[in-house]
Subunit: 391 residues, 2 copies
């Protein structure tokens, strides 16, 4: 691991407690800790007991995660004297639906979960988003703890309080800003994560470098393999990512301002996800983000905002880490330029019909570009989609 | 109208602008005005235009209210240059359901309502609770304006930001704390409200006196007929009620403390509603609250907390205003003491199985009584239900 200190990590008060890293998300009375380290899952019971002594606990998880981690989570909670119920859902993006959030809420009520009790989200971003939303609306809010088990969830979705489900009108269109009471990220649990999911999560890690930490992006270019393999580069990457996100969230909790920077790669990415009907066999979220970030840099280069060499460097690194960087790499393709434009227009981040993009003046120099002329976007897409990955 | 000034009304900065009363709900960046006066509905368009110039507006209403007020609301908005869509729901408590909130959210998305747009809740408490919840969760929060059209909604449900729906497990168990941007209470629209609904709303008016304003309760005893008839006693009653509620909400937005005082009459009342299966032909919310308040005072008298004469005075006034004060007055009855106890145990306000009541040391001297022994409650119910209204 290099010694390049990340500015954001320092700002967000990273503390190193004997191997465990702790990052504080500073949101006044809604502040909470993100704890990062190998083996933390076995401390879940103790951590929950400190938050809410004597509380009842409901674990919300999916079938895959329950199979590999459910027993350990339950054992830890039970040993700490908590009464535990587990609500197991089918894995996959389709679980973030009205039907499932209704079922989960009713199951929490049936389990007599009260406002002082604890909902544990044990899983990837799907479970975190769904469980967080259910916790937000059952009894107008019960406390919840995020135990993210995918890399994407550890570096992104478990931090910041965005929760929700998908609508037939689009992804994440129904939800709440609702902060957890604690995030417990056990980096060892990523060892059972399918490699494709690991890569998808890695796209969001690289994103923090691309937004405003060029030295972290350079670190990523050197150390990505260690993140995948589970050396201590993994904890460093997770902690740096969480610190970066925590700093943005603390500045702009409900995304009225520069929290939108976190959407680098997402305007394109979400459109691609929509066009592949959220079919994870074809595209998972992080892959869409990887393609989207590569596109955002190519778009920036085309607009003369950044050097073409920067766009190449972005695509090269993402491709080296096993990620797609061009729509043509999506099995089955994504249709025409018009279809991509139409899919972008449906994005939640569209305001009064104007398209907002995150563009860049270079690596680590991203900015929010509101009201991008539709013709510029079309011209870029026509040129870009006619080309290919080029890496 | 008497001149007895209400302490809470003064605290909450009631301003009198040429017949219109304005009460500020002080919640830092979530602060908003409650505007009260005859004919304000025709100013809806102007008010919304000042909040969000050029915004799109979606009116959520029910069939009854749409029939009597829909056109006027739309005309006012259209004249002010707003694009308006109307979502009309069936009237009645059953509308506060998962199915309907899902339909409303999807309809708002179909109408392309964005975060800066405005959802208008035009109706009673059912519409206000449902529309507020939908506004809270569509795109993680779009702005909304309450236009309460029932007395209950004007004095209670439109103020304070509790929104939500019912669950098969109980009333209001799913929801959010979400504050409106404005409450516009046109007291003239109450002229078309069925008298039974007017009475039900009046129970909540009297409640504010019983909680902590004995002089307002005395004013009610003198002036209730004017509230029903629509003299300026009506605006005074609505304004005093809103000021009282606003003051409590400002102290305790998310009900972790003394906001619970607003639940006077509601532990009993909600149990009665549950036992009558929310069948409004038998019992509407305010009737349940009236019975519940009479019971809370009889229970307090039985426990030696307040004078039996105070309990009599409460029942006498509510009965004079046309409200029921005893479970025996509910058509079809409510079953046994055990059934009432069981229904109370399901209340949201039950914490770890202990029953919380709002009891009183006299009129205007209510307090929160946590952990009431179940045996005391049972003994009271056995005595009380064996008796009758007694007024
Ligand atoms: N709330 C936010 O701020 C935010 C940010 C980014 C993404 N998201 C959301 O996150 C979701 C994607 O999250 P995700 O990529 O974690 O998807 P996911 O939750 O579907 O997890 C991916 C797959 O990995 C499996 N899995 C998870 N942990 C495992 C483990 N330790 N071992 C073995 N298998 C494991 C899951 O069962 C699933 O099949 C999307 O719905 C996206 O919208 C939310
Ligand atoms: N959010 C809160 O803080 C809060 C507080 C108290 C009650 N509530 C909720 O409020 C609901 C009860 O509200 P409600 O009593 O207003 O019921 P409601 O909304 O059902 O309205 C009562 C009836 O009057 C009709 N109506 C409304 N305005 C009218 C008008 N101007 N002219 C003619 N008809 C009209 C409605 O169509 C309905 O049939 C319950 O669901 C209760 O849980 C919420
Ligand atoms: Zn993402
Ligand atoms: Zn009430």
């Amino acid at each position: 691991m290099t010694t390049a200190a990340s500015a954001a990590a320092a700002q967000a008060q990273t503390a190193d407690n004997g191997g465990e890293r702790v990052i504080r998300v500073a949101l006044a009375e809604r502040s909470y800790d993100i704890r990062i380290g190998r083996g933390l899952l076995d401390g879940l019971g103790g951590a929950v007991a400190r938050l809410a002594p004597g509380a009842n606990v409901a674990i919300i998880t999916d079938e895959n995660v329950n199979r590999v981690l459910g027993e350990r989570a339950r054992a830890s909670l039970t040993q700490a004297g908590q009464r535990v119920e587990t609500i197991v859902l089918p894995p996959g993006e389709a679980t973030k639906s009205w039907d499932h959030v209704g079922q989960v809420c009713e199951a929490l009520l049936a389990a007599k979960i009260e406002r002082g009790d604890i909902v544990v989200a044990l899983g990837g971003g799907v479970i975190g988003d769904l469980a967080g939303f259910a916790a937000a609306i059952v009894r107008r809010g019960v406390r919840f703890v995020q135990v993210p088990t995918s890399l994407l969830a550890q570096v992104d979705s478990s931090v910041g309080g965005k929760t929700g489900i998908n609508s037939p009108h689009g992804k994440n269109l129904i939800g709440a800003f609702y902060q957890p009471s604690l995030v417990l990220a056990d980096t060892a649990v990523l060892d059972t994560l399918p490699v494709r999911e690991l890569r998808a999560g890695y796209a969001e890690v690289a994103k923090y470098g691309l937004i405003d930490q060029p030295e972290f992006f350079a670190w990523c270019e050197q150390n990505w393999q260690g993140v995948y393999d589970g050396t201590d580069a993994r904890e460093y990457a997770v902690a740096t990512s969480c610190a970066a996100k925590a700093a943005v969230v603390a500045r702009d909790e409900t995304e009225t301002g520069d929290r939108a920077l976190l959407n680098l790669g997402h305007t394109f990415g979400h459109a691609l996800e929509r066009l592949t009907h959220y079919d994870s066999a074809r595209l998972v979220h992080g892959e869409g983000v990887a393609i989207g970030m590569a596109q955002a840099f190519r778009f920036s280069a085309r607009l003369g905002l950044c050097a073409p060499a920067d766009a190449d460097r972005v695509a090269r690194h993402l491709a080296a880490a096993g990620l797609p960087v061009h729509p043509a790499q999506i099995p089955g393709g994504v249709g025409t330029v018009d279809e991509v434009l139409e899919a972008m227009a449906q994005d939640k981040k569209v305001s009064r019909g104007a398209l907002t993009f995150i563009l860049a003046r270079g690596i680590g120099q991203s900015f929010i570009a509101k009201n991008m002329p539709r013709d510029d976007v079309r011209a870029f897409l026509e040129a870009d989609m006619a080309g290919g990955p080029g890496v």
